[in-house]
Amino acid sequence: MNPTETIRSIQENIARVIKGKPHVIEMSLVALLARGHLLLEDVPGVGKTTLAHSLARSLDCSFKRIQFTSDLLPSDIVGVSIFNRQKQAFEFIPGPIFANIVLADEINRTTPKTQSSLLEAMSEAQISFDNTTYPLHQPFMVIATQNPAEYHGTFPLPESQLDRFLMRLRIGYPSQEEEKKVLDRPQSLHPAEALQPLLTAKDVLSLQEQVDNVLMEDSITDYLLTIVQRTRQSELLSLGVSTRGALALSRAAKAMSFVRGRTYCLPDDIKELAPIVLSHRIMVARAQGVRQRSCEQAERIIQDLVDSIPVPV
């Protein structure tokens, strides 16, 4: 099976669970293939967890779920050292972070201390504990979900940590017809449990390698960098996109080209991805008279920005 067909079959697989959201499914695959982490931000109950679950089920690899609560401790994520009486030594018991796909549910419900222990693992792909470094499993992907910041009882993630997520997706409410299909489904079994794995961890790694070979022509790189530059110069924003952000956009564009069956990027990829890859990395200037962390606001600013930049043809 060639890569394009493989990817399509996974999309179809997930689409059996998540109705009417092909774009979200596609983007979560893009994040996977770009070796990125995914932040799903939306109101409770629109299928964030289900999406993560379905993706993990479609791949034949380990999957752990951490429910973030306000009393969660770093050791609950990373693991803990326990004294082994037989061996007369401390023994490291790996935490749930040691899995291929980690679902960090409601990440903004926990304290910053616990959040940072997860985010460190995300950027380094390894854990340091008691002077020993433990590499995490490959592929490694964190799918975090969070409720919009304005909801009660949340600890918002700082920008530096948001930067570690490749993209921030909003799922949104399904249309009435799609919602009806969800309701018509038999309630006995969680729909994600019925999914069959289609890819092994090894397959995913090989796909990720193929993404690296996607060609990004010079003029497109220039286009990308122009966009990044403009975010730094824009008066609407108090914080522009970092170099890591530019890198993320480039990687995401390559992955998206690959997911769409191309071996080269198009300006369209950049333009389409810019809002979801860049919007969580910027800070909207206070002078704009809006709440700072408004997700839609940031996306709209990026979208307007991109709409004003000439595209190489």
Binding site: L215, E217, S219, I220, R262, T263, Y264, C265, L266, P267, D268, I270, K271, V306, D307, S308, I309, P310, V311, V313
Partner: protein, 730 residues
């Protein structure tokens, strides 16, 4: 013409020019010349698409390994050639180079084969450049330059992304409309030629203004020195004869004051001899002393006599361009008073000859002021006088066996009274009673002079002059033999005499009591002319020679000193002073313009116009270059992109598609990426959707993915575009 074919054509052109340059410069052996020429012609015919030649070449039973073996064989041959046949590295290397070129010409397939061919051509043209300083190199080099610019340009244009694609010989023209981009369009044609011209113009400017460091590795004398005879300290009678058939140019004597009164006879004095032993002339007064230097580079031989005699002879100024000779003698019209040139020192002997310290190995230029001695009226009626002893010993010496000559001399002159009359009598006797012929084999004789005077009565200048000297001495008149050149070839385009080996001459100097030494020439003036034929042909020859002279003078010899002069004159800043560079260029072009001026009869204005034109040309090329640098028409457009035929073609189709859509009122905003534009179009004009999507997909793949569309895809795309056109019309 498609790029591929044009590239093949210019590549062969490039190889051909360097081959011609090498043939003219190095003198390749005939078989190699013929072989290379044949290879070039075959390559050219193959390129022109001659089926039969292609079949023939295709059926050649030599595989790649075979060709490689041939190269190895050629390399072996190179060693054999170097060690035994030519015995030298340079000719052997050149022969090997030509063999490599032949092999390459037959195996031109991949792009790197072409690169090899260019490298070979470059080495060849450089080699021929270092082997020659002749004028013909200029047009060859110009051709090479043009070919080079074309080839580089086309090579870049046809560059495939893979870099090793095969440039197959049979021309495959993709199905495409005539206005396709990958053709040599008029714009490209002029762009390439303009580039070449601009390069050349800039080179000329650089040549004249950028400081140079001479004495490179390849710096050497300009070829072999010309072998002369008659200018050493002893000369056998008859020695000049053999060289009288040699047309090679020895020097050019420019007369800045214009044509002399007697056009066609200009004596250039070399050395004189006082002693004759019956066979050989010897110069016993050969003690050389250094000439005092008046100013730097100006040497004075004779001060103007004080008080000045009433009737001094005419002063003749000459600028002499002397080819490298095997003798240190500096030639000048009789008698040199002042010599200026860039010499460290000069020497002269007692007999009035001027010498360099050693023979020059390169062409030298110097100017001379000469003044001949006129015959004073006091000599016309005075009696012979008594000469001092030393004078008698040198200039009245007679070999032992010449009694018959003395009798003859007495016979001829017994009716004359004065020395001058006697000399004239002998002169007319010799001129009228003897026949001039170069065929007289007098060299081997025991008594060549008697043989000439009494038996054969046939001889050439040396015999005439020797006879006259001997006869004069026999009757007590001091005389000596002078060798030099009798210039007859006046070049009216450059105001100079061309002096050739065949103009070598011997004549007589007679001493008159009051006037001093005067020149007399007993040889009949009806020397065989330079050759018959069509007069216009000669005019053309003279014009070419002028060009050659100026070439040598202003390009080959142009030195750091000349550049300093240019800079100094520029610094002087006088607005009226034309700088030397322009001046020299105007002189270079003036012969051509002078020819034109004959037609238009505006002779006086031409020089000004000439340099104005040259200046204009240089400025124009600068402007063109600047424009190209600023505008960079290749920057975004067609030229330096790594594009292939098909890529170019789909880009064009896409362009045509957007034009079609724009006509329909659907135009792409600059912020709209291609696929978004497709959706945008589909929303507005759903019929066109599939066509636009197809063409855009192909275009994007070629443009951003660098995957050129295949021929089938292209024809499909063309079909879609046609549909679009019909749709938009309906």
């Amino acid at each position: 013409m498609p790029f591929d074919q044009a590239l093949r054509f210019t590549s062969i052109w490039l190889a051909a020019t360097s081959f011609i340059g090498l043939t003219l410069g190095a003198g390749l052996p005939e078989w190699l010349t013929v072989l290379t020429g044949a290879a070039l012609i075959v390559a050219l015919l193959r390129n022109a698409g001659r089926k039969s030649v292609e079949r023939l070449a295709g059926s050649m039973p030599i595989s790649t390994i075979g060709w490689n073996l041939l190269v190895m064989l050629g390399f072996l041959g190179f060693w054999v050639d170097m060690l035994w046949v030519s015995g030298d590295l340079l000719p052997a290397g050149i022969h090997f180079l030509m063999i490599l070129m032949i092999i390459k010409l037959f195996t031109l397939k991949l792009r790197r084969d072409y690169v090899h061919l260019y490298a070979i051509s470059l080495v060849a043209i450089l080699a021929s450049g270092s082997l020659t300083t002749e004028l013909w190199y200029l047009p060859i080099f110009l051709l090479y330059l043009f070919a080079g610019v074309w080839t580089l340009l086309l090579f870049q244009l046809t560059k495939h992304s893979e870099g090793t694609q095969i440039l197959t010989m049979p021309v495959v023209v993709p199905p495409q409309p005539s206005e396709s981009v990958d053709q040599v369009t008029p714009q490209l044609f002029w762009l390439a030629n303009g580039l070449a011209l601009a390069t050349f113009g800039l080179t000329v400017v650089i040549f004249f203004t950028i400081p140079r460091i001479s004495a490179g590795f390849y710096q050497k004398g300009f070829g072999e020195n010309i072998r002369t005879s008659g200018f050493s300290e002893t000369v056998n009678l008859g020695e000049i004869g053999p060289i009288k058939r040699d047309p090679s140019v020895v020097m050019r004597v420019e007369l800045p004051d214009g044509a002399p009164h007697e056009v066609g006879r200009f004596y250039v004095r070399g050395v004189a001899f006082d002693q004759y032993d019956g066979k050989t002339w010897t110069n016993r007064l050969n003690y050389r002393r250094n000439i005092s230097e008046d100013a730097i580079g100006t040497f004075v031989l004779r001060r103007s006599r004080l008080p000045a005699p009433p009737a001094l002879g005419e002063t003749i100024r000459q600028n002499i361009l002397l080819e490298p000779l095997d003798t240190p003698v500096l030639f000048a019209a009789p008698f040199a008073e002042q010599v200026s040139g860039t010499f460290p020192s000069l020497q002269s002997d007692l007999i009035g000859s001027v010498y360099l310290p050693f023979p020059s190995s390169s062409r030298i230029e110097y100017s001379v002021r000469s003044r001949s001695n006129p015959v004073l009226s006091t000599d016309l009626d005075s009696e012979p006088i008594l000469y001092p002893e030393s004078f008698i010993r040198h200039f009245l010496q007679i070999p032992a066996q010449s009694d018959r000559i003395a009798t003859l001399a007495a016979d001829v002159t017994h009716t004359q009274r004065t020395t001058y009359e006697k000399a004239n009598a002998i002169l007319s006797f010799l001129t009228h009673n003897f026949r001039y012929s170069l065929d007289a084999p007098l060299t081997g004789q025991d008594q060549p002079l008697e043989e000439f005077l009494f038996t054969r009565k046939t001889g050439y200048c040396e015999h005439y002059a020797t006879a006259m000297v001997m006869m004069l001495r026999a009757i007590g008149v001091p005389a000596r033999l002078v060798t030099g050149f009798l210039a007859t070839e006046w070049n009216e385009y450059g105001n100079y005499y061309v002096v050739r080996q065949q103009d070598a001459h011997a004549w007589v100097e007679v001493h008159l009591p009051h006037s001093g030494w005067i020149t007399m020439d007993p040889t009949p003036s009806s020397i065989e002319s330079v050759g018959g034929g069509f007069p216009a042909w000669h005019a053309l020859g003279r014009m070419m020679d002028t060009l050659r002279l100026q070439w040598g003078r202003f390009f080959v010899q142009y030195s750091a000193a000349d550049q300093l002069t240019v800079v100094r004159e520029l610094k002087a800043g006088s607005t009226s002073a034309r700088n030397k560079a322009l001046d020299s260029m105007s002189t270079l072009f003036s012969p051509l313009l002078a020819m034109l001026s004959g037609v238009t009869e505006y002779a006086s204005k031409w020089t000004m116009r000439a340099w104005a034109e040259v200046l204009g040309l240089a400025l124009l090329s600068l402007v063109v270059l600047l424009w190209l640098v600023i505008k960079q028409p290749w920057g975004q457009g067609i030229i330096s992109k790594k594009t292939t035929h098909n890529e170019q073609f789909i880009v064009q189709l896409y362009g045509q598609m957007t034009t079609q859509l724009a006509r329909k009122g659907i135009s792409r905003r600059t912020t709209m990426p291609p696929l978004e534009f497709v959706r945008f179009t589909q929303e507005r004009w759903s019929d066109a959707g599939s066509a636009v999507a197809f063409i855009t997909a192909l275009y994007c793949r070629a443009r951003f993915g660098q995957i050129p569309p295949t021929r089938e895809e292209l024809s499909l795309a063309e079909g879609h575009l046609r549909n679009l056109t019909t749709l938009s019309k309906s």
